[in-house]
Amino acid sequence: MKTALQLIVLSVVLVLIQLLICNNIVLFNVAIPIVFIYVIIWAPLWLNQSLLLTIAFLLGLIVDIGSDTPGMNALACTLLAMLKRPVFYAYMEHDDHSDEITPSLSSMGVWDYCKYLLTMVAIYCILIFSIEYFSFADVKEIAIMAGYSTAMTFLLLIGIDSLMKGKREKRL
């Protein structure tokens, strides 16, 4: 129940930040911060896969409606949600407790979490810019946009994760 509430609050806050702030930032004309995917990255692993897919799809859909890009973020989010488990287990051992984890700096360790976060962000950026450009002729632009946006988003999400950690610690 607590996680559900957290998830909803996090979703609302991040979607609002995305739509009101991040969508208006295009750093150096190439880097766009994408913060709302943190919900998918953060979502606990014990969460039902279908539920995660639904949350991801709805998140993407809301962002799409807000930024007038119907289907783009919804598709990318759905694909990212499907890839979450494989990416997570690429860096973490599959044991009895691994399914109880909520991916974060504190639960996974800095190095593993950074690898996991970077992979997820990179996947999303490549997906979203590929869908947006939708042409193999623009591979160079896609690579540049995805590269810079991944770097920027990664740094922002590390920051958000630290804030979450801080909140958790304060509550404790």
Binding site: Q49, T54, G60, G71, M72, A74, L75, T78
Partner: protein
């Protein structure tokens, strides 16, 4: 039913995933003009490419029937050309013949057996009496004369080819009145001899040799070959020319059988005994 439910539950996340992907794609391609246009054009080029590849392969298999069709139409066209020539000649002679009918007709036939290395060579064709082929009809290929039908079955016929030591053909030097007899001597399937050429006949290397039209077997002017050299003849009044044959007998695939509509009439006329007033049998 239970196992179906189990299957659905087990792979539910995949179904959910597919549904969301489809929904997103629908949204993407319906609402975004750019993505829709790219999707449509790439889909079109993909379809076109596939169709092209399939058509290429199919076309390859259809080549045989296309070839046969072309041969048939070629025969029909040649028939028409010769008939028109015939008609033109008739009109030029200002003979107002209301009973005029084309004299020669062609039947395209596929070569199913062929020999060139024996003293007497024969060709088997896939046309017989059912198709109107009769003994004694002339056979021509795309390049020139091929032979004469000498045995007929209902579906096939055997053609005694030019490469046959016992066969003579009435030929002449093109655009001249000098006639001769074409024979072949065992050996080279590309060379024959035009014998009995009058001594005063003028000839040049490279002159065309064509059929004379003096028989009902071949119409006049069908190519036979070209003169390559003179050979010393046995008789002082005549000489012999070596002729390079126009037809390549090693590569015969389709031939045309010539049907002369006047053959029976001419044959009976030529064997008519005017004194006895009856046909000699």
């Amino acid at each position: 039913m239970g196992s179906l439910l189990n299957f659905l539950i087990r792979y539910s996340s995949w179904f959910v995933f597919l549904i969301y992907v489809l929904l997103s794609c629908m949204l993407l391609f319906r609402s975004n003009d750019y993505q829709r246009s790219v999707y449509l054009t790439s889909a079109n080029s993909l379809t076109a490419g596939t169709y092209e590849a399939v058509a290429d392969v199919k076309g390859y298999f259809a080549l045989k029937s296309i070839n046969e069709g072309l041969e048939e139409s070629n025969a029909a066209l040649l028939n028409e050309v010769l008939n028109l020539k015939d008609e033109l000649a008739t009109l030029r002679a200002e003979v107002g013949d209301s009973t005029y009918a084309p004299r020669f007709d062609y039947v395209a036939a596929k070569v199913i057996n062929n020999s060139t290395r024996r003293p007497n060579n024969y060709i088997t064709i896939q046309r017989g009496s059912d198709d109107g082929v009769e003994r004694g009809m002339g056979v021509v290929g795309n390049e020139g004369i091929v032979g004469i039908v000498n045995a007929v079955g209902s579906r096939t016929a055997r053609v005694s080819s030019v490469l046959n030591e016992g066969q003579h053909y009435s030929v002449k030097l093109k655009d001249t009145p000098f006639v001769g007899s074409l024979i072949w001597k065992s050996g080279d399937p590309t060379v024959a001899y035009m014998t009995e050429v009058a001594r005063h006949a003028k000839w040049h290397k490279g002159d065309s040799v064509v059929t004379s039209g003096y028989s009902t077997t071949f119409p006049e002017g069908i190519p036979v070959g070209v003169v390559v050299a003179r050979v010393k003849g046995a008789d002082d009044n005549f000489f012999t020319l070596r002729v390079k044959l126009a037809s390549d007998f090693d590569r015969l695939s389709t031939v045309r059988v010539i049907r002369d509509e006047l053959k029976s009439e001419l044959d009976s006329l030529e064997t008519f005994d005017f004194q006895e007033n009856k046909v000699i049998r």
